[in-house]
Protein backbone atom coordinates (compact mmCIF):
# COMPACT_ATOMS: atom_id res chain seq x y z
CA UNK A 1 0.00 0.00 0.00
CA UNK A 2 1.50 3.31 -1.10
CA UNK A 3 1.99 6.03 1.48
CA UNK A 4 -0.65 8.28 -0.12
CA UNK A 5 -3.14 5.46 -0.20
CA UNK A 6 -2.33 4.73 3.41
CA UNK A 7 -2.94 8.34 4.20
CA UNK A 8 -6.17 8.36 2.22
CA UNK A 9 -7.20 5.27 4.07
CA UNK A 10 -6.55 6.88 7.42
CA UNK A 11 -8.69 9.88 6.52
CA UNK A 12 -11.47 7.64 5.22
CA UNK A 13 -11.37 5.67 8.42
CA UNK A 14 -11.66 8.82 10.50
CA UNK A 15 -14.56 10.03 8.35
CA UNK A 16 -16.37 6.71 8.78
CA UNK A 17 -15.68 6.75 12.50
CA UNK A 18 -17.02 10.29 12.75
CA UNK A 19 -20.18 9.52 10.78
CA UNK A 20 -20.81 6.40 12.82
CA UNK A 21 -20.10 8.17 16.10
CA UNK A 22 -22.66 10.87 15.39
CA UNK A 23 -25.32 8.70 13.83
CA UNK A 24 -25.01 5.89 16.36
CA UNK A 25 -25.07 8.34 19.26
CA UNK A 26 -28.25 10.00 18.08
CA UNK A 27 -29.83 6.74 16.99
CA UNK A 28 -29.39 5.58 20.56
CA UNK A 29 -30.40 8.85 22.20
CA UNK A 30 -33.59 9.06 20.16
CA UNK A 31 -34.13 5.43 19.19
CA UNK A 32 -34.17 4.07 22.75
CA UNK A 33 -36.87 6.45 24.02
CA UNK A 34 -38.81 5.90 20.81
CA UNK A 35 -38.51 2.13 21.14
CA UNK A 36 -39.61 2.35 24.76
CA UNK A 37 -42.48 4.56 23.67
CA UNK A 38 -43.54 2.04 21.05
CA UNK A 39 -43.45 -0.70 23.65
CA UNK A 40 -45.23 0.99 26.52
CA UNK A 41 -48.03 2.21 24.26
CA UNK A 42 -48.58 -1.27 22.86
CA UNK A 43 -51.54 -3.40 23.83
CA UNK A 44 -51.72 -4.35 27.48
CA UNK A 45 -48.94 -2.00 28.51
CA UNK A 46 -49.31 0.88 30.93
CA UNK A 47 -49.55 3.68 28.39
CA UNK A 48 -51.51 1.65 25.86
CA UNK A 49 -52.59 3.82 22.93
CA UNK A 50 -53.62 2.48 19.57
CA UNK A 51 -53.41 5.96 18.08
CA UNK A 52 -49.79 6.57 19.10
CA UNK A 53 -48.95 3.06 17.94
CA UNK A 54 -50.41 3.64 14.51
CA UNK A 55 -48.84 7.04 14.03
CA UNK A 56 -45.36 6.04 15.09
CA UNK A 57 -45.62 2.72 13.29
CA UNK A 58 -46.51 4.50 10.08
CA UNK A 59 -43.74 7.07 10.37
CA UNK A 60 -41.22 4.35 10.99
CA UNK A 61 -42.45 2.34 8.04
CA UNK A 62 -42.31 5.42 5.84
CA UNK A 63 -38.73 6.21 6.72
CA UNK A 64 -37.76 2.58 6.30
CA UNK A 65 -39.39 2.37 2.89
CA UNK A 66 -37.62 5.38 1.35
CA UNK A 67 -34.39 4.42 -0.41
CA UNK A 68 -31.44 5.92 1.43
CA UNK A 69 -30.36 8.04 -1.58
CA UNK A 70 -33.77 9.65 -1.71
CA UNK A 71 -33.79 10.14 2.02
CA UNK A 72 -30.49 11.93 1.64
CA UNK A 73 -32.04 14.33 -0.89
CA UNK A 74 -35.31 14.82 0.92
CA UNK A 75 -33.45 15.67 4.09
CA UNK A 76 -31.11 18.25 2.55
CA UNK A 77 -33.11 21.29 3.72
CA UNK A 78 -33.24 19.85 7.20
CA UNK A 79 -29.55 19.04 7.10
CA UNK A 80 -28.79 22.57 6.05
CA UNK A 81 -30.91 23.89 8.89
CA UNK A 82 -29.39 21.72 11.58
CA UNK A 83 -25.81 21.16 10.48
CA UNK A 84 -25.47 24.44 8.58
CA UNK A 85 -24.18 22.72 5.48
CA UNK A 86 -25.51 20.10 3.11
CA UNK A 87 -22.19 18.40 2.48
CA UNK A 88 -19.42 16.60 4.24
CA UNK A 89 -19.39 13.80 6.79
CA UNK A 90 -21.39 15.73 9.36
CA UNK A 91 -24.16 16.42 6.87
CA UNK A 92 -24.18 12.76 5.84
CA UNK A 93 -24.46 11.82 9.49
CA UNK A 94 -27.84 13.48 9.72
CA UNK A 95 -29.30 11.25 7.04
CA UNK A 96 -27.65 8.26 8.64
CA UNK A 97 -29.21 9.27 11.94
CA UNK A 98 -32.65 9.62 10.42
CA UNK A 99 -32.28 6.16 8.90
CA UNK A 100 -30.81 4.77 12.10
CA UNK A 101 -33.41 5.99 14.57
CA UNK A 102 -36.43 4.00 13.38
CA UNK A 103 -34.20 1.02 12.71
CA UNK A 104 -32.88 0.94 16.25
CA UNK A 105 -36.23 1.93 17.73
CA UNK A 106 -37.77 -1.21 16.23
CA UNK A 107 -34.99 -3.35 17.57
CA UNK A 108 -35.37 -1.76 21.00
CA UNK A 109 -39.09 -2.45 20.87
CA UNK A 110 -38.43 -6.07 19.94
CA UNK A 111 -35.98 -6.51 22.81
CA UNK A 112 -38.47 -5.07 25.25
CA UNK A 113 -41.12 -7.44 23.96
CA UNK A 114 -38.92 -10.32 25.00
CA UNK A 115 -38.97 -9.31 28.63
CA UNK A 116 -41.14 -11.69 30.60
CA UNK A 117 -44.50 -9.91 30.86
CA UNK A 118 -44.81 -11.29 34.36
CA UNK A 119 -41.82 -9.29 35.58
CA UNK A 120 -43.38 -6.08 34.34
CA UNK A 121 -46.66 -7.05 35.92
CA UNK A 122 -44.92 -7.81 39.20
CA UNK A 123 -43.38 -4.34 39.08
CA UNK A 124 -46.79 -2.81 38.39
CA UNK A 125 -48.30 -4.77 41.25
CA UNK A 126 -45.68 -3.16 43.51
CA UNK A 127 -47.23 0.19 42.67
CA UNK A 128 -44.13 1.28 40.74
CA UNK A 129 -44.48 4.32 38.51
CA UNK A 130 -43.99 3.90 34.76
CA UNK A 131 -40.69 5.77 35.01
CA UNK A 132 -39.39 3.51 37.71
CA UNK A 133 -40.44 0.48 35.69
CA UNK A 134 -38.66 1.83 32.63
CA UNK A 135 -35.49 2.60 34.57
CA UNK A 136 -35.32 -0.39 36.85
CA UNK A 137 -37.04 -3.11 34.90
CA UNK A 138 -37.34 -2.47 31.18
CA UNK A 139 -33.85 -1.14 30.57
CA UNK A 140 -31.87 -3.51 32.81
CA UNK A 141 -33.85 -6.56 31.77
CA UNK A 142 -33.39 -5.84 28.07
CA UNK A 143 -29.79 -4.64 28.32
CA UNK A 144 -28.43 -7.67 26.58
CA UNK A 145 -30.95 -7.33 23.76
CA UNK A 146 -30.36 -3.59 23.48
CA UNK A 147 -26.65 -4.17 23.03
CA UNK A 148 -27.29 -6.88 20.47
CA UNK A 149 -29.59 -4.52 18.57
CA UNK A 150 -26.99 -1.79 18.76
CA UNK A 151 -24.47 -4.09 17.12
CA UNK A 152 -26.87 -4.69 14.25
CA UNK A 153 -27.56 -0.96 13.96
CA UNK A 154 -23.88 -0.01 13.88
CA UNK A 155 -23.22 -2.57 11.16
CA UNK A 156 -26.19 -1.37 9.12
CA UNK A 157 -25.14 2.25 9.46
CA UNK A 158 -21.62 1.30 8.42
CA UNK A 159 -23.12 -0.24 5.33
CA UNK A 160 -25.31 2.81 4.63
CA UNK A 161 -22.35 5.13 5.18
CA UNK A 162 -20.85 3.78 1.96
CA UNK A 163 -23.37 6.01 0.23
CA UNK A 164 -22.27 9.06 2.16
CA UNK A 165 -19.80 9.75 -0.62
CA UNK A 166 -22.70 11.19 -2.59
CA UNK A 167 -22.72 14.26 -0.40
CA UNK A 168 -18.98 14.41 0.00
CA UNK A 169 -19.08 12.51 3.23
CA UNK A 170 -16.18 10.30 2.34
CA UNK A 171 -15.45 7.27 4.47
CA UNK A 172 -14.24 3.78 3.77
CA UNK A 173 -17.15 2.59 1.68
CA UNK A 174 -16.86 5.68 -0.50
CA UNK A 175 -13.16 4.98 -0.92
CA UNK A 176 -13.98 1.54 -2.19
CA UNK A 177 -16.47 2.94 -4.68
CA UNK A 178 -14.39 5.86 -5.91
CA UNK A 179 -11.02 4.20 -6.21
CA UNK A 180 -11.84 0.55 -6.30
CA UNK A 181 -14.77 0.82 -8.65
CA UNK A 182 -14.49 4.01 -10.69
CA UNK A 183 -10.71 3.99 -10.94
CA UNK A 184 -10.20 0.24 -11.22
CA UNK A 185 -7.77 0.06 -8.35
CA UNK A 186 -8.62 -3.48 -7.42
CA UNK A 187 -6.19 -3.60 -4.54
CA UNK A 188 -8.02 -0.63 -2.95
CA UNK A 189 -11.27 -2.46 -3.41
CA UNK A 190 -9.82 -5.62 -1.91
CA UNK A 191 -8.21 -3.83 1.02
CA UNK A 192 -11.32 -1.84 1.86
CA UNK A 193 -13.60 -4.86 1.60
CA UNK A 194 -11.30 -6.93 3.80
CA UNK A 195 -11.02 -4.02 6.20
CA UNK A 196 -14.81 -3.62 6.27
CA UNK A 197 -15.30 -7.30 6.92
CA UNK A 198 -12.72 -7.19 9.67
CA UNK A 199 -14.39 -4.13 11.16
CA UNK A 200 -17.80 -5.78 11.08
CA UNK A 201 -16.51 -8.95 12.68
CA UNK A 202 -14.86 -6.86 15.35
CA UNK A 203 -18.05 -4.91 16.03
CA UNK A 204 -20.00 -8.16 16.12
CA UNK A 205 -17.50 -9.78 18.46
CA UNK A 206 -17.44 -6.87 20.86
CA UNK A 207 -21.22 -6.57 20.70
CA UNK A 208 -21.72 -10.26 21.42
CA UNK A 209 -19.35 -10.14 24.36
CA UNK A 210 -21.00 -7.09 25.86
CA UNK A 211 -24.44 -8.62 25.34
CA UNK A 212 -23.41 -11.85 27.05
CA UNK A 213 -21.85 -10.01 29.94
CA UNK A 214 -25.09 -8.06 30.42
CA UNK A 215 -27.19 -11.21 30.50
CA UNK A 216 -27.83 -12.31 34.08
CA UNK A 217 -30.37 -14.99 33.31
Amino acid sequence: MSPELFNEFGIAFLETAWMLAISVTFSVLIGVPLGIGLFVTSEGMFWQSQVLQNISGTIINIIRSIPFVILLVVLLPLTKLIVGTSMGPTAASLSLTVAGIPFYARLVENSLREIDKGVIEAAESCGASPWLIIRKVLLPESKSGLIGGLTVTVISLLSYSAMAGMVGGGGIGDLAIRFGYYRYQNEVMAITVVFLIFLVQLIQFLGDRAANAADKR
Binding site: A123, S125, G127, V137, P140
Partner: protein, 333 residues
Protein backbone atom coordinates in the same frame (compact mmCIF):
# COMPACT_ATOMS: atom_id res chain seq x y z
CA UNK B 1 -61.19 -5.59 54.12
CA UNK B 2 -61.73 -6.53 50.50
CA UNK B 3 -65.15 -6.20 48.91
CA UNK B 4 -65.90 -7.27 45.39
CA UNK B 5 -69.24 -5.97 44.18
CA UNK B 6 -70.69 -7.42 40.97
CA UNK B 7 -67.24 -7.78 39.50
CA UNK B 8 -67.28 -8.90 35.87
CA UNK B 9 -64.36 -9.13 33.50
CA UNK B 10 -65.03 -9.81 29.86
CA UNK B 11 -62.52 -10.28 27.06
CA UNK B 12 -63.77 -9.94 23.52
CA UNK B 13 -65.83 -13.13 23.65
CA UNK B 14 -64.93 -14.71 26.99
CA UNK B 15 -66.44 -13.79 30.33
CA UNK B 16 -63.51 -14.68 32.54
CA UNK B 17 -65.11 -13.39 35.75
CA UNK B 18 -68.87 -13.34 35.92
CA UNK B 19 -70.62 -11.08 38.40
CA UNK B 20 -68.65 -11.98 41.49
CA UNK B 21 -69.59 -10.69 44.94
CA UNK B 22 -67.22 -11.39 47.79
CA UNK B 23 -66.32 -9.86 51.12
CA UNK B 24 -63.04 -10.84 52.67
CA UNK B 25 -62.60 -9.45 56.17
CA UNK B 26 -59.31 -8.15 57.45
CA UNK B 27 -56.87 -10.78 58.66
CA UNK B 28 -58.47 -13.66 56.82
CA UNK B 29 -56.64 -16.20 54.70
CA UNK B 30 -59.01 -16.70 51.83
CA UNK B 31 -58.54 -19.49 49.28
CA UNK B 32 -59.80 -19.70 45.73
CA UNK B 33 -60.06 -23.07 44.01
CA UNK B 34 -61.48 -24.26 40.72
CA UNK B 35 -60.61 -25.84 37.41
CA UNK B 36 -58.09 -24.38 35.05
CA UNK B 37 -59.69 -21.50 33.18
CA UNK B 38 -62.35 -20.97 35.82
CA UNK B 39 -61.27 -17.34 36.20
CA UNK B 40 -59.29 -17.57 39.45
CA UNK B 41 -56.26 -15.61 38.24
CA UNK B 42 -58.42 -13.04 36.56
CA UNK B 43 -60.42 -12.49 39.72
CA UNK B 44 -57.28 -12.17 41.81
CA UNK B 45 -55.80 -9.71 39.33
CA UNK B 46 -58.96 -7.68 39.51
CA UNK B 47 -58.31 -7.10 43.18
CA UNK B 48 -55.23 -4.99 42.57
CA UNK B 49 -56.54 -3.82 39.22
CA UNK B 50 -53.83 -5.51 37.19
CA UNK B 51 -56.97 -6.42 35.30
CA UNK B 52 -59.52 -3.63 35.21
CA UNK B 53 -62.99 -5.13 35.78
CA UNK B 54 -65.38 -4.53 32.91
CA UNK B 55 -68.10 -3.96 35.47
CA UNK B 56 -68.45 -3.76 39.22
CA UNK B 57 -66.42 -2.35 42.06
CA UNK B 58 -63.39 -3.44 44.00
CA UNK B 59 -63.28 -1.91 47.47
CA UNK B 60 -60.26 -2.20 49.69
CA UNK B 61 -60.87 -0.82 53.16
CA UNK B 62 -63.92 0.92 51.72
CA UNK B 63 -61.96 2.70 48.98
CA UNK B 64 -63.39 1.93 45.56
CA UNK B 65 -60.27 1.20 43.46
CA UNK B 66 -62.19 1.22 40.20
CA UNK B 67 -63.10 4.87 40.77
CA UNK B 68 -59.50 5.98 41.29
CA UNK B 69 -57.08 7.59 38.88
CA UNK B 70 -54.07 5.62 37.68
CA UNK B 71 -51.86 7.45 40.14
CA UNK B 72 -54.16 6.72 43.04
CA UNK B 73 -54.39 3.07 42.03
CA UNK B 74 -50.60 2.93 42.16
CA UNK B 75 -50.69 4.29 45.70
CA UNK B 76 -53.29 1.71 46.72
CA UNK B 77 -51.14 -1.04 45.25
CA UNK B 78 -48.43 -0.21 47.77
CA UNK B 79 -50.79 -1.69 50.33
CA UNK B 80 -51.42 -4.80 48.25
CA UNK B 81 -48.54 -7.24 47.87
CA UNK B 82 -48.65 -9.91 45.19
CA UNK B 83 -46.82 -13.22 44.92
CA UNK B 84 -46.60 -15.06 41.62
CA UNK B 85 -46.33 -18.71 40.77
CA UNK B 86 -43.32 -18.12 38.59
CA UNK B 87 -41.73 -15.60 40.96
CA UNK B 88 -41.23 -12.91 38.28
CA UNK B 89 -38.12 -11.46 39.83
CA UNK B 90 -36.02 -8.92 37.95
CA UNK B 91 -33.33 -11.21 36.59
CA UNK B 92 -30.82 -8.40 36.16
CA UNK B 93 -31.13 -7.20 39.75
CA UNK B 94 -29.67 -8.81 42.84
CA UNK B 95 -31.89 -10.16 45.60
CA UNK B 96 -31.32 -6.98 47.58
CA UNK B 97 -32.32 -4.76 44.68
CA UNK B 98 -35.35 -6.84 43.85
CA UNK B 99 -36.70 -6.11 47.29
CA UNK B 100 -35.47 -2.52 47.26
CA UNK B 101 -37.37 -1.99 44.00
CA UNK B 102 -40.65 -2.39 45.75
CA UNK B 103 -39.65 0.24 48.30
CA UNK B 104 -38.42 2.59 45.59
CA UNK B 105 -41.88 2.23 44.12
CA UNK B 106 -43.26 3.50 47.40
CA UNK B 107 -40.88 6.44 47.32
CA UNK B 108 -38.89 5.25 50.32
CA UNK B 109 -35.52 6.87 50.96
CA UNK B 110 -32.16 5.13 50.59
CA UNK B 111 -31.81 5.01 54.36
CA UNK B 112 -35.20 3.48 54.94
CA UNK B 113 -34.41 0.88 52.31
CA UNK B 114 -31.02 0.14 53.86
CA UNK B 115 -32.70 -0.51 57.15
CA UNK B 116 -35.73 -2.45 55.97
CA UNK B 117 -34.35 -4.81 53.33
CA UNK B 118 -32.05 -6.70 55.72
CA UNK B 119 -35.01 -7.13 58.09
CA UNK B 120 -37.07 -8.60 55.29
CA UNK B 121 -34.22 -10.86 54.21
CA UNK B 122 -33.90 -12.02 57.78
CA UNK B 123 -37.62 -12.72 57.94
CA UNK B 124 -37.58 -14.95 54.86
CA UNK B 125 -34.27 -16.51 55.87
CA UNK B 126 -32.18 -15.21 53.01
CA UNK B 127 -29.81 -12.82 54.79
CA UNK B 128 -26.81 -14.52 53.19
CA UNK B 129 -28.19 -14.26 49.66
CA UNK B 130 -28.57 -10.49 49.34
CA UNK B 131 -25.91 -10.30 46.64
CA UNK B 132 -27.10 -13.21 44.54
CA UNK B 133 -28.86 -12.91 41.22
CA UNK B 134 -32.18 -14.73 40.90
CA UNK B 135 -30.62 -17.25 38.51
CA UNK B 136 -28.42 -18.38 41.41
CA UNK B 137 -31.32 -19.25 43.70
CA UNK B 138 -33.46 -22.34 44.11
CA UNK B 139 -37.19 -22.20 43.44
CA UNK B 140 -38.05 -21.87 47.09
CA UNK B 141 -35.49 -19.16 47.59
CA UNK B 142 -36.84 -17.22 44.61
CA UNK B 143 -40.32 -17.48 46.05
CA UNK B 144 -39.04 -16.14 49.37
CA UNK B 145 -37.60 -13.14 47.59
CA UNK B 146 -41.01 -12.72 45.99
CA UNK B 147 -42.61 -12.76 49.42
CA UNK B 148 -40.10 -10.30 50.85
CA UNK B 149 -40.75 -8.00 47.92
CA UNK B 150 -44.49 -8.25 48.40
CA UNK B 151 -44.16 -7.45 52.10
CA UNK B 152 -41.63 -4.65 51.76
CA UNK B 153 -44.15 -1.83 52.04
CA UNK B 154 -46.13 -3.36 54.93
CA UNK B 155 -49.15 -4.19 52.82
CA UNK B 156 -52.48 -4.96 54.38
CA UNK B 157 -53.37 -7.43 51.67
CA UNK B 158 -51.32 -10.20 50.10
CA UNK B 159 -52.43 -11.83 46.85
CA UNK B 160 -50.90 -15.20 45.91
CA UNK B 161 -51.46 -16.86 42.54
CA UNK B 162 -50.45 -20.51 42.89
CA UNK B 163 -47.43 -19.47 44.86
CA UNK B 164 -46.44 -23.01 45.81
CA UNK B 165 -47.55 -25.12 42.85
CA UNK B 166 -44.09 -25.44 41.41
CA UNK B 167 -42.33 -26.25 44.65
CA UNK B 168 -41.39 -29.49 46.36
CA UNK B 169 -43.31 -30.52 49.50
CA UNK B 170 -40.71 -29.24 51.93
CA UNK B 171 -40.38 -25.86 50.34
CA UNK B 172 -44.14 -25.64 50.07
CA UNK B 173 -44.45 -26.40 53.77
CA UNK B 174 -41.90 -23.77 54.72
CA UNK B 175 -43.60 -21.13 52.58
CA UNK B 176 -47.02 -21.94 53.96
CA UNK B 177 -45.57 -21.65 57.45
CA UNK B 178 -44.17 -18.26 56.56
CA UNK B 179 -47.50 -17.09 55.15
CA UNK B 180 -49.36 -18.30 58.22
CA UNK B 181 -46.90 -16.54 60.50
CA UNK B 182 -47.21 -13.31 58.57
CA UNK B 183 -50.95 -13.56 58.72
CA UNK B 184 -50.99 -14.18 62.43
CA UNK B 185 -48.24 -11.76 63.40
CA UNK B 186 -49.09 -8.84 61.16
CA UNK B 187 -52.78 -9.44 60.61
CA UNK B 188 -52.36 -9.27 56.85
CA UNK B 189 -55.30 -10.40 54.74
CA UNK B 190 -54.18 -13.12 52.33
CA UNK B 191 -56.05 -14.19 49.22
CA UNK B 192 -54.57 -17.25 47.60
CA UNK B 193 -55.28 -19.38 44.57
CA UNK B 194 -54.16 -22.96 44.74
CA UNK B 195 -54.84 -26.29 43.18
CA UNK B 196 -53.40 -28.15 46.12
CA UNK B 197 -56.14 -29.06 48.58
CA UNK B 198 -53.58 -29.56 51.36
CA UNK B 199 -52.75 -25.89 51.08
CA UNK B 200 -56.40 -25.02 51.60
CA UNK B 201 -56.56 -27.42 54.48
CA UNK B 202 -53.43 -26.12 56.12
CA UNK B 203 -53.88 -22.39 56.01
CA UNK B 204 -57.16 -21.14 54.58
CA UNK B 205 -59.91 -19.81 56.80
CA UNK B 206 -62.47 -19.57 54.03
CA UNK B 207 -62.58 -20.76 50.47
CA UNK B 208 -64.33 -19.73 47.27
CA UNK B 209 -64.99 -22.33 44.60
CA UNK B 210 -65.06 -20.95 41.06
CA UNK B 211 -66.52 -22.39 37.91
CA UNK B 212 -66.97 -20.65 34.56
CA UNK B 213 -66.13 -17.26 36.02
CA UNK B 214 -68.69 -17.54 38.81
CA UNK B 215 -68.11 -18.12 42.48
CA UNK B 216 -70.39 -21.09 43.03
CA UNK B 217 -69.57 -21.70 46.66
CA UNK B 218 -68.02 -19.74 49.50
CA UNK B 219 -67.46 -21.80 52.56
CA UNK B 220 -65.43 -22.02 55.72
CA UNK B 221 -62.45 -24.21 54.93
CA UNK B 222 -63.65 -26.63 57.59
CA UNK B 223 -67.15 -26.81 56.20
CA UNK B 224 -65.82 -27.18 52.68
CA UNK B 225 -64.11 -30.39 53.68
CA UNK B 226 -66.78 -31.54 56.08
CA UNK B 227 -69.80 -30.68 54.02
CA UNK B 228 -69.11 -29.37 50.53
CA UNK B 229 -72.20 -27.77 49.02
CA UNK B 230 -71.57 -28.06 45.30
CA UNK B 231 -70.69 -31.13 43.25
CA UNK B 232 -67.45 -29.44 42.18
CA UNK B 233 -66.36 -28.79 45.74
CA UNK B 234 -67.27 -32.38 46.58
CA UNK B 235 -65.05 -33.66 43.82
CA UNK B 236 -62.14 -31.53 44.95
CA UNK B 237 -62.53 -32.56 48.56
CA UNK B 238 -62.76 -36.20 47.60
CA UNK B 239 -59.31 -36.10 46.13
CA UNK B 240 -58.09 -35.54 49.67
CA UNK B 241 -60.58 -37.85 51.37
CA UNK B 242 -60.31 -40.65 48.92
CA UNK B 243 -61.16 -43.38 51.32
CA UNK B 244 -61.48 -46.28 48.95
CA UNK B 245 -60.84 -49.69 50.38
CA UNK B 246 -58.95 -52.32 48.44
CA UNK B 247 -61.34 -54.98 47.10
CA UNK B 248 -59.26 -57.63 48.79
CA UNK B 249 -60.08 -56.10 52.17
CA UNK B 250 -63.78 -55.71 51.52
CA UNK B 251 -64.06 -59.29 50.37
CA UNK B 252 -62.42 -60.67 53.49
CA UNK B 253 -64.56 -58.83 55.99
CA UNK B 254 -67.33 -60.46 57.95
CA UNK B 255 -69.01 -57.58 59.80
CA UNK B 256 -70.82 -54.45 58.73
CA UNK B 257 -68.69 -51.80 57.19
CA UNK B 258 -69.68 -48.22 57.88
CA UNK B 259 -68.20 -44.82 57.19
CA UNK B 260 -68.44 -42.40 60.07
CA UNK B 261 -67.81 -38.69 59.85
CA UNK B 262 -66.79 -36.96 63.04
CA UNK B 263 -67.15 -33.21 63.14
CA UNK B 264 -66.23 -30.74 65.82
CA UNK B 265 -67.03 -32.03 69.31
CA UNK B 266 -67.98 -35.46 68.14
CA UNK B 267 -64.44 -35.85 66.90
CA UNK B 268 -62.98 -35.04 70.24
CA UNK B 269 -65.14 -37.47 72.17
CA UNK B 270 -64.20 -41.11 72.48
CA UNK B 271 -67.22 -42.44 70.61
CA UNK B 272 -65.61 -45.57 69.25
CA UNK B 273 -64.31 -46.52 72.67
CA UNK B 274 -67.70 -45.96 74.23
CA UNK B 275 -69.44 -47.98 71.56
CA UNK B 276 -67.16 -50.89 72.25
CA UNK B 277 -67.79 -50.62 75.96
CA UNK B 278 -71.54 -50.30 75.61
CA UNK B 279 -72.27 -52.93 73.04
CA UNK B 280 -71.02 -56.40 72.40
CA UNK B 281 -69.24 -55.54 69.23
CA UNK B 282 -65.71 -55.45 67.96
CA UNK B 283 -64.81 -52.34 66.02
CA UNK B 284 -61.98 -52.53 63.59
CA UNK B 285 -60.73 -49.30 61.98
CA UNK B 286 -60.08 -50.07 58.33
CA UNK B 287 -59.45 -46.67 56.88
CA UNK B 288 -59.56 -43.16 58.06
CA UNK B 289 -58.30 -39.70 58.03
CA UNK B 290 -58.48 -37.02 60.63
CA UNK B 291 -57.61 -33.53 59.55
CA UNK B 292 -57.34 -30.49 61.70
CA UNK B 293 -58.68 -27.61 59.68
CA UNK B 294 -58.34 -24.34 61.50
CA UNK B 295 -57.55 -26.35 64.60
CA UNK B 296 -60.89 -28.12 64.38
CA UNK B 297 -60.80 -31.83 63.81
CA UNK B 298 -62.66 -33.39 60.92
CA UNK B 299 -62.48 -37.12 60.93
CA UNK B 300 -63.67 -39.77 58.56
CA UNK B 301 -63.31 -43.38 59.58
CA UNK B 302 -64.33 -46.54 57.84
CA UNK B 303 -64.82 -49.21 60.42
CA UNK B 304 -65.92 -52.78 60.48
CA UNK B 305 -68.39 -53.63 63.22
CA UNK B 306 -68.52 -57.28 64.12
CA UNK B 307 -70.92 -58.98 66.45
CA UNK B 308 -74.50 -60.14 66.55
CA UNK B 309 -76.78 -58.40 64.10
CA UNK B 310 -79.02 -56.74 66.73
CA UNK B 311 -75.97 -55.53 68.65
CA UNK B 312 -74.47 -54.11 65.47
CA UNK B 313 -77.73 -52.37 64.75
CA UNK B 314 -77.80 -50.79 68.17
CA UNK B 315 -74.16 -49.80 67.94
CA UNK B 316 -74.83 -48.10 64.63
CA UNK B 317 -77.82 -46.29 66.02
CA UNK B 318 -75.71 -45.11 68.94
CA UNK B 319 -73.02 -43.80 66.66
CA UNK B 320 -75.54 -42.03 64.48
CA UNK B 321 -76.91 -40.45 67.58
CA UNK B 322 -73.53 -39.15 68.62
CA UNK B 323 -72.17 -38.08 65.23
CA UNK B 324 -75.11 -37.55 62.96
CA UNK B 325 -72.98 -38.89 60.09
CA UNK B 326 -72.85 -42.57 59.41
CA UNK B 327 -73.13 -44.36 56.16
CA UNK B 328 -73.30 -48.11 55.75
CA UNK B 329 -70.99 -49.25 53.01
CA UNK B 330 -71.43 -52.99 53.21
CA UNK B 331 -73.55 -55.11 55.40
CA UNK B 332 -72.16 -58.54 55.52
CA UNK B 333 -74.16 -60.00 58.32
Amino acid sequence: MIELVNVTKTYENVTAVDNVNLTIPKGEIFGIIGYSGAGKSTLLRCINLLEKPTEGQVLINHTDLTALSKLEVRKERLKIGMIFQHFHLISSAKVYDNIAFSMLAAGKTKDEIKERVPELLEMVGLSDRADHFPAQLSGGQKQRVGIARALANDPTVLLCDEATSALDPNTTASILKLLKEINERLGITIVLITHEMEVVQQICHRVAVMEDGKVIEVNEAYELFADPQTPLAKQFVQTVHSLTLPDRLLAARTGSIVQITFRGHSAEDSIISETINRFKVIVNILHGQINYIQDRPLGILIVEIKGDAPEIKRAIEYIINRTNHLEVIANVS
